[in-house]
Symmetry: D3
Subunit: 309 residues, 6 copies
């Protein structure tokens, strides 16, 4: 049985629940982070936690727990779980404001922190082949909510619109379709759980300005891997004209994007800059990222949908 | 101990929980309704349920339960709870898509329905005096999310922006401040949990077009009470020039709005049309609405904040 | 061989061409109308021509031909063509500004008017079954261009965005998918060649305000057929909640819309108000509209795409 | 008689026509390029063709012809035409999707490619003096269509709004008025057939970001000519405060802009950076650009309008 | 010497000044009204004053003077001025917040009220002929500021954008050009000092919704004169298709609009509904409005510009 | 008695008035500058005057006075005033278009220039403590007017919206609240009289792009003081994550911003980069800026409001 950390205690995973009177369920009022390990060691955990604390500050949850205590709790729950030797840990850290005061008769007030830990392979199921085929990004009619109305830089749980985009794109013909959201100006923002990059004709690695997107930890890491990168507004025209494209996300690190709306990008295959960056990343963490995910896929049932966060 | 209805069973209220792997907590992906009784009899329950099923359809939760079964469940949970004789029932019906498939190891798949029942007085605590003083609506910088990005007509749980508006308005000087959201065109939409009305200089009862608002059951009921009402875009200018203003919401039915941003509306007191409509409403349901809420307030502690939904 | 009318002459259809130096091909600078006959008699021809002259006025083509002369020309070309007895005439009237002055060496200056005439069945091929199944409207990411930038009320040939919408929707799973465009506010505008209607829960026939749409001749005619109709902003939410929906267009008159984005409208079948209106229309023009189109479909090859204007 | 290249054949210019059933005339669905020669040698032809193929890809015309074949065809038609010794060639390459399938009875299906060739002096008639006087840019009420609705980076024929801007600006008092379009944010985009530049107070050559503009071949060339250039949002305020301004376009290369809305830029005369860049350009192609155009103007009738594309 | 009323005193007109330290000059922070007499009797004075007090309330000037005192002051200053027998009175009532507190050393604090009175003919100079020729409304690139940023329903002095529109339209060819502002949606709002009306094809008198316009006293009066009027969004397309158009404004009451952007409306002459309404108006106030203004024009110098407020 | 310069004459300050018939009072049609001295010597006077002349050019006031004459006038009025030895001069230069021609009977036509001079301490009253406490920036619902509707880069007097923002923020709880305006995209623009800066996590000094803001003289000066600065779009998220923040304005030079909407920035105290820059500034002008302002505050009454321009 997997264990979770909840408000200071190690508990069975089945205790990973929140009351319907919690602000998290009443308002989508919860911030969170998800991270992963390489060879069992958490990757960029501190970066994730710093972003978590920025989210907490932004939505003004009066949390008393310090970032160091949070980091300790992450390690504690990781130690409490014994996975298969070839597994990696995936942590999900949820912080809610807690029961709304008017419902105080139903339970204690105060923020709730739940850290759960489960095998990373859950969230990469069926993705192995995508390293070879690439994904097809599809622009749905659902647009990104602008940051001044609901800020995607604050990693929060009011994200119904991401789910609606997922449902919409599931209606598209073909395989390996992932939604890619435009903002109100027609600029590309992000996938519903990943950041987007192109390599332009001058070999610059370009990603949308950090405005209507989550400023991803993997996004930052990939930028550090390359010499020439920049943030810039990107339009579909730029993608059609790009040499390569890819997305980044914590569970899979990087995946090639080989077409947009069914139109090939470059030669329609994973490109050399993507391939080199992924290789480099793997080298730095001591894991062949693609091989690991493809190995997990062997003998397992296909995941139910391509977007899984 | 209060009882809830959950996926077919009557259970103690403490079972009113959802897993952190439920789409409700992952995406704010839950639709809901809240209703109330008068003298123990549910008011407009069917109307609430019809709106619930519209929400379910819109977000495409594949629920097998019919609306008739849902109505039966509501009555069942109501019967299971014994409140003080002077209490009224407040039902909260939550419908989630359930555990996301990639987390299927943590629990069963399939939608979750939870109907809870608690004393209405929880949600009206501290409101008694407002029938006499009126509330001061305050326009925060947080704007309503437009319906084509996240539809407020679908009563869903991705409503972090409502909470942010509440927090912002809590910084305003004075008492009895309730947020009133503008849309991107500067039109008034709704409070964070209530519909807004003015009575204009020609004695028309006017409420914003049913676009960037929840189309409230109380909103409809009040319109039926009056002879001359219309939907129309309303701007702050129109409010300053109105004779009266009020809000509607299920728990309190109607409350007078006596100022906007601190500027008096009319003579700054609850107006005759409001008063008459509330009286009429009370007559139809056999309850003196204002007296009931004011009676509950006596001897109780003040509620923690003026917005309680 | 079919004949056309071109600048005063009856010519073979192969002469229905315009120079690449014509403003029509340089700027998409051409206005047009398309109409149809019932039992060989043109339907609402004058209404179409009046709209044509409004378009000409709006884009300021200095045409000397009067509307009466235009009407005569329409009749002249109709007489010049002999179709199968069960055919109907379809006229396409194109008016361009003519060769741009700087290209005057390549041909004469002055506006060009071409009226062509062909069997209506071309444009209804494969539509017969849709009267029974209904169409599935699909909202693409391509939005309508707002009228103040390029006015759809002016029936003109700069409509690349309609074609892009068609291409996009062709990528959707399932059959009978027709694009339905939203405007920048998220209001439904029109299909790429048809007007959209719903019947709401109060049995009103509702169509979008005549703003970001072509004000269709069939649209007007259907409104005249019903007692209770109104123009109003319509959102997807309203469609999901409608009893029925349909589109109107000159070639097919009316077609039922039985789903939006794959979600059933009403019971997912052509509704009684649609059926009655179509029957009524047929009675007024002496043609069983559905039967005629279905008869044409028998024995013919399926049309290449569902949108054919 | 001038010759054109059409779908593989050299034909008289009078065959440069398209059917009214071609998607080009039905939807403004045609992409194109125009280039010019210096001393009879095509300038940047390959760059134009690469942009053409990006346009084709974007609008998904299934063209089988390769870019090399296209280049050969351009040379072929050039050889087929004998102009005056002092003339330059102007090529116009049009690519349409061809007859819409429902009209297949009227002609063959498949894309149409027409390359025409004519004396450049047609498109520069009357411009000679502008090298000395400069042009007055005028901002019309017609705004640029944003790229996510109709992308100006795709050089296409749905450009009625450019013609409407031309008509509007023709109503302005004074001479040498050229339209300059703002986008919805009030940023300067482009003229209706030219790119816009300023030289700011720090001597940077600045041109609008490549978003709501055609990314012009001349635009790129001029940037390469200067050491300090950048893309940046430009507002009218910046123009009024600029030292110089100019436009670029294939036929005339560069023209000075000496006022905006009648307000002088700098000292109201062509500036030194413009003058030097034009001189440099001429040196690189072996032609005195200004002298050539002014020579053509002598003895010819004045062109009918200042904007000629 | 003309007299004014200033803060309770009758003073010579030369005292009609405000300090540069007054909020009126520092922030454009002054609200105002202008009215006129017929045969020396003020027309709708109370309506103007009620609007003035709405403006005062909106911008929160803490004025102690009551509306009745304001009305008395208007009559007092009118009595103090002796004009030619054929003159009419024009009152201008300005209310400022007064000297900003940090400048209190330069003068007294507290609001300033100045009522001036001068011959109406000043503001109608040169307009006489327009009753016969009509005006040409011109849409400038300057758009109306939306009401949620600066409300035109509050008649205030921050109206630099109106002046900029006037300057822009003065650059248009032809005569009798008056600016007509679009809002951000492309809807017609108002002239820079007048309200706009059309008579549509069904003979309805239509004026823009009272949103981004001053809700004019003359506007209301004209609506009362006609049986069939409505507020509705109006686009240029609607104007080109209208039977008639006109503007209303206090000094001239009504003027025919015979073209928009140089395109004729109807037959390009003042229409029968306009003519009848003006006649009716004149009858009700006992003045031949057109004749009076034309008489003033005779022998006087032409006014310097067509817009005079 | 203080003296002013008005249209060429030195006059008592009480003559610093403009007629109600001046375009400045009719349209908010006046441009201006305000500057200050250090040790009696004007600081960046020429920069202010150059911006003034850009404003004059933009709004097209036909002023004949040259910038050199304007500079002389500034010095002349400064010499005419004798202040306390510890005072600094504050100049306010107003340029209006003058009496509107239709009101020419009330006074002379032609532009009016008024330069007034008063002790700087007026405008810094009560600010001394803010150097230690910092200010709390508050985002009101009032948004900045976009530059294409009314350009804040043109320092003009149509700024009612700034005053409305001031009034709105005065309703916020707590002390030292200053308004900070967002634009329509949710980007931070400026305070109502100051420019805004953050120091980001990489120690860059960042200020909003020079688009919807006054391009402040102090803003430029501070940028010159630091090595690493850039213009960039800034959102509230960026401010919450900043190390420091501050505002710049002519009278106080720089003030620390220690919180936004009540949420601490950094450690909630004036930061080292701010402190060093202010010290550096003081060194360059030979004045301890903070000490000077704090000295003025001692023994004086508190200023009436925190925003004083």
């Amino acid at each position: 049985m997997r264990q979770i950390w909840k408000n200071g205690e190690i508990l069975p995973e089945t205790e990973g629940k929140l009351s319907i009177y919690d602000s998290a369920l009443l308002f989508g009022d919860m911030v969170f982070e998800m991270c992963r390990s390489f060879k069992g060691k958490h990757f960029k955990l501190r970066d994730h936690l710093e972003r978590l604390y920025r989210s907490i500050k932004h939505v003004r949850i009066p949390l008393e727990m310090t970032i160091d205590q949070m980091e300790d709790a992450c390690h504690e729950v990781t130690r409490a779980n014994k996975f298969e030797p070839d597994d990696e840990h995936r942590l999900m850290i949820n912080v809610s404001r807690g029961t709304l005061p008017i419902y105080r008769d139903t339970g204690d007030l105060g923020s709730n922190v739940i850290i759960s830990d489960f095998p990373l392979r859950w969230t990469t199921a069926g993705m192995g082949k995508l390293f070879d085929t690439g994904i097809n990004c599809v622009i749905p009619s659902q647009r990104q909510i602008p940051a001044h109305l609901l800020d995607p830089k604050v990693k929060n749980r009011s994200r119904m619109h991401y789910l609606m985009a997922n449902i919409e794109v599931a209606q598209t013909k073909g395989e390996n379709n992932w939604p890619l959201l435009l903002d109100q100006d027609g600029f590309i923002t992000e996938g519903t759980g990943c950041n987007f990059f192109i390599i332009d004709q001058d070999s610059w690695v370009v990603t949308p300005e950090g405005r209507n997107v989550l400023r991803g930890v993997s996004r930052d890491f990939v930028c550090d891997l390359t010499e020439c990168w920049k943030e810039q507004n990107i339009e579909p025209y730029d993608v059609y004209d790009a040499r390569e494209a890819f997305v980044t996300g914590t569970p899979f690190c990087m995946l090639p994007v080989t077409s947009l709306n069914g139109v090939k990008i470059g030669d329609g295959k994973p490109g050399p800059i993507f391939t080199e960056a992924l290789r480099e990343w793997g080298k730095m963490v001591g894991v062949d990222i693609k091989a690991q995910i493809q190995a997990w896929d062997k003998g397992s049932v296909e995941g139910p949908s391509p977007y899984k966060f």
